[in-house]
Symmetry: none
Subunit: 242 residues, 2 copies
């Protein structure tokens, strides 16, 4: 079930639109508005860009109690990092998996207070916990749409498959090929009498480590060996001795 994003008493219609856009980019679609100052409004539509469908489908109610009546888990967002009146305060990273788990089985909600004053104590009474987005304490104010952005992003990350490295176009080179590259390089370094400023014995290992970190694919190993071959050929053509 999608997580319900509830904006309580938003003052600026532009923020509603920007919040809808942030939600939609992260795959969220359920927007509820509790007593918005102005809605619908051209500014909301303008800032929503491609997310006007979320605005059109938004549910407008008069009180937060109505918006959360069917919710099994409700997190209120708080601009304060510390626990307030005994509510536990979670980070977005801690809260997101709990919300995702709850949303898999029933209705979960995230509640955002109004731009100026945040959530009232009466609103907080309806929440199971608070979530605080860490910010620079000297500046500290995320705007409404930015807070929606961060939490929608955390929900997406928590519900996605755990991040996997991108698939490569070419398979990685097996270790045996890397070993052949290393021997070849060793041969060339001997031919050119190269000794490391910092002392020779570790040189080859250090270069190998660079290749290791780079996670070379098969084409890349072929290309590097091609360069070594060309160096040897050219040197032999030029000098005839080595």
């Amino acid at each position: 079930m999608p997580t319900r994003f509830i904006l309580v008493a938003p003052r600026h219609p532009g923020n509603i639109g920007a919040a809808a856009r942030a939600m939609k980019a992260m795959g969220q679609r359920e927007l509820w508005l509790v007593a918005p100052a102005v809605f619908p409004h051209a500014l909301a539509s303008e800032r929503a860009v491609g997310a006007n469908d979320l605005l059109a489908a938004a549910t407008v109610v008069a009180t937060l109690a109505e918006a959360v009546a069917d919710c099994g888990l409700v997190y209120g967002t708080s601009a304060r990092p510390r626990s307030r009146y005994y509510w536990p305060v979670a980070s977005p990273r801690e809260a997101a998996p709990r919300i995702v788990a709850a949303a898999a089985q029933g209705q979960a909600a995230l509640v955002f207070g109004s731009e100026r004053s945040g959530l009232s104590n009466a609103d907080l009474e309806l929440c199971h916990g608070l979530v605080h987005i860490p910010t620079d304490p000297e500046f500290g104010s995320l705007n409404l749409a930015q807070a929606v952005q961060v939490l929608a992003y955390e929900l997406r990350t928590a519900s996605g498959p755990s991040p996997r490295p991108a698939r490569r176009l070419v398979p990685l080179a097996p270790v045996a090929e890397l070993e052949r590259l290393r021997s070849h390089l060793d041969e060339v370094l001997t031919e050119i009498d190269f000794t490391d400023r910092t002392g020779g014995p570790h040189l080859l290992r250090r270069v190998s480590r660079i290749f290791g970190r780079a996670e070379l694919d098969q084409d890349e190993v072929g290309m590097l060996r091609g360069i070594l071959v060309a160096m040897q050929a050219r040197r032999r053509r030029a000098g005839g001795r080595s």
Copy 2:
């Protein structure tokens, strides 16, 4: 050292302001602009809200190369989830601790492309890796300030008390040094008449990408350049002509 946030060719001054606000809320302060369409501008200041100091201190340059010349680690943001031309694509969660670790010892940067077209291939050449913010594939477009918001948030979270990757013993090589390594390699490849089996023009770029992925430190760049010097010297001794 603060991470440098670099906006390449931003078209809308409002986005610059919103990006500055997102940065400041997360404790970031170093904003660079590469060839902005319009800057400074009243709209930028308006959207920055309390972050006008970041706009006033922003560095404006003509090319991305100037903006990253002293950077040891550069991540470009990409709207594409898959690997592109051999660049690895990390999630914000994977990239953030690496950036935080690099920024602890030198200059690190995050690069954001222009609203319409993202980063060019020439810009990507200057990056060590790409970072993609997971979005709903059916909608998919985060605006510039939202992307800045998510990454600044991840950096803040990564620099908190959670485990961090090991500190490097030697600082990362700045991009300008990598460029010198690349030119030197180009010189040697020309001297040995090396042409890639798969077609010449991309060769140097492919090798550079390997170096980028390996995140070379200053000693390693010195060592690799030493090998190139030895190759040239030995070839000249042997042949006397090239």
